[in-house]
């Protein structure tokens, strides 16, 4: 007992190789999204193939879309929208929901009751349905999409953070900090947050997957990212006519989404226990 407390904390986490593969694929898409305008072989809007729904060839690695545009370039640019919008939305959801959840656990009382009641009610609207209703009401520009996706997942992030923070809130050192006269923000960010940051990060990843799936679903319905921009879901939407021919233009964007979501799931499932359950 005394030995382990005096030993310097070991920072070498053991990652399983499955988790490493997941991480590598995430990193790959992140780099693609960052460098997109510099690595696309053809401008995204340019028609480069006389044929539409062209097959894969050495000139067009992933074939052409319904207008004869290069699919590889469109997927590379699509990575920007899918990854970028989802990342912005998940930050909004987790920061807001997390802060509110921890604050509710610390403050308690009617603030906690009313907020929990309200957010739990919002949580019982199916996410796709909220997306449809909001898209109908305020349209779907890129900024609206980010805010909408963020807001839809705030209740979930709130509930998760609150349930973790409630446990920490009963610890003696929280009582000490309060007796010392510390304010709510100090207790939340300096006492509670460091103790639950691991599980919160895992939740961040899971919620990122939810958001990618919802965004793709909405774009697939034609209610998400609007032309001339296209994320991966929108690419499937606009090329759905190629499905009866088995065109790569329909299959490849779906595979891109799947590779991203599955690798995030793999990474989180294989996170070292030290990170995932630090609160335990």
């Amino acid at each position: 007992m005394t030995i382990s407390t005096t030993m310097p904390r070991r920072l070498s986490y053991r990652f399983s190789w499955v988790g490493m593969i997941g991480f590598a694929i995430i990193l790959f898409w992140a780099v693609i999204a960052l460098l997109a305008p510099h690595i696309i072989p053809y401008p995204v809007g340019e028609i480069v193939d006389e044929d539409y729904f062209g097959p894969m060839s050495s000139k067009l690695l992933l074939g052409s879309d319904y207008l004869g545009r290069d699919m590889l370039s469109r997927i590379i640019m699509g990575a920007r929208y899918t990854v970028g919008i989802s990342l912005a939305a998940v930050c909004l959801a987790c920061f807001t929901g997390g802060a509110l959840g921890m604050a509710a656990a610390v403050v308690g009382g009617w603030f906690d009751t009313v907020l929990s009641r309200f957010l739990d009610a919002l949580n019982s609207i199916p996410s796709k349905l909220s997306g449809l209703v909001i898209a109908a009401a305020v349209g779907s520009s890129l900024s609206v999409l980010i805010v909408m996706l963020g807001v839809i997942y705030i209740p979930g992030a709130y509930r998760f953070a609150r349930s973790l923070a409630v446990n920490i809130n009963t610890m003696d050192y929280i009582t000490v900090a309060r007796t010392r006269g510390e304010g709510i923000s100090y207790v939340v960010f300096s006492e509670i947050l460091p103790n639950i940051i691991g599980p919160l990060l895992a939740d961040f990843g899971i919620r990122f997957v939810f958001i990618v799936l919802l965004l793709s679903g909405l774009s697939f319905l034609g209610l998400g990212v609007q032309p001339p921009y296209a994320d991966w879901g929108a690419l499937v939407h606009e090329n759905i006519g190629g499905l009866p021919f088995g065109a790569p233009a329909v299959i490849v964007p779906s595979l891109a989404i799947a590779s991203l979501t599955i690798s995030v799931n793999l990474l989180i499932d294989n996170l070292p226990k030290k990170i995932r359950d630090r609160s335990a």
């Binding site: 009641r117 019982s124 609207i125 349905l129 209703v133 009401a137 779906s254 799931n265």
Partner: protein, 316 residues
Amino acid sequence: MRTYVLGLITNRLGSSALTLLIVSFAVFFATAMLPGDTATILLGQAATPEAVAGLRAAMHLDEPAFFRFARWLFGLLQGDLGTSYVNNVPVAQLIGARFVNTMRLAGIVTLIAVPLSLILGITSAMFRGSAYDRIVTILTIGVISVPEFMIATSAVLLFSVYLKWLPALSFAGDVASFWQVLKIYAMPVITLTFVVSAQMIRMTRAAVIDTINTPYVEAAILKGASRWRAVIIHALPNAVGPIANAIALALSYLVGGVIIVETIFNYPGIAKLMVDGVSTRDLPLIQSCAIIFCVGYLALITFADIVAILANPRVR
């Protein structure tokens, strides 16, 4: 004890009713936030100010939002779903037949998915760690982590492009024979079954594993009961509650799935109606469809909770 359980259930029903009120409030105000004036949008740019004012009064748009909400909710409770902006037909009339179609689709999927998931979920829990369990787990995680439309497009690629067993994306109106009905329903049902079953298998497996890990099941195995006997006779009766809960929860994934599936297969159901309503911005239609879906979703979740209450022997 009986009154205690009844109290718990009443409490749960009451909280669902409150949730539904908040949800309808949220749906109404999300749609009422529409930028621009509805009357102006309906009449177009060329309308005279008098005409706009007249329409506003007729639609009660000049009243405070809260009164409009109360009026809308009151109408809803009486079964008045309002009138479609686009073709001036009562929304109830638009929804009627399509609601039956969606319920039929959901019913068929439930009938297939529940037994399938129970068998796969329970057996994979029994043989935890085996190759069979790992294959089932990987497949369910795979299905859960991809968008629903990808399951649908993969089904089309497999069954109609490569195998050529079924028609592709068309939902033909003529239903002459039983065989044709089967062909029409096959693809939507296959897709939805995949989506719902994956969730159901995962949750059932987790519920059964929780029960298998208890000391009394270990005791049963130690006394020499076979693995089948330990699971089926000893563990399963105690897992019924959590499993029923898992089924009801997984069925709520039908709501999200049905929106995608009806759109991609052009199935004449209520979700397709709603998606079409979103592109034409037909607010009364969207509100009504959203409320119907929320009621269905809440009903399933409430049902799951009530089953969990009833199945818990500690409160019975």
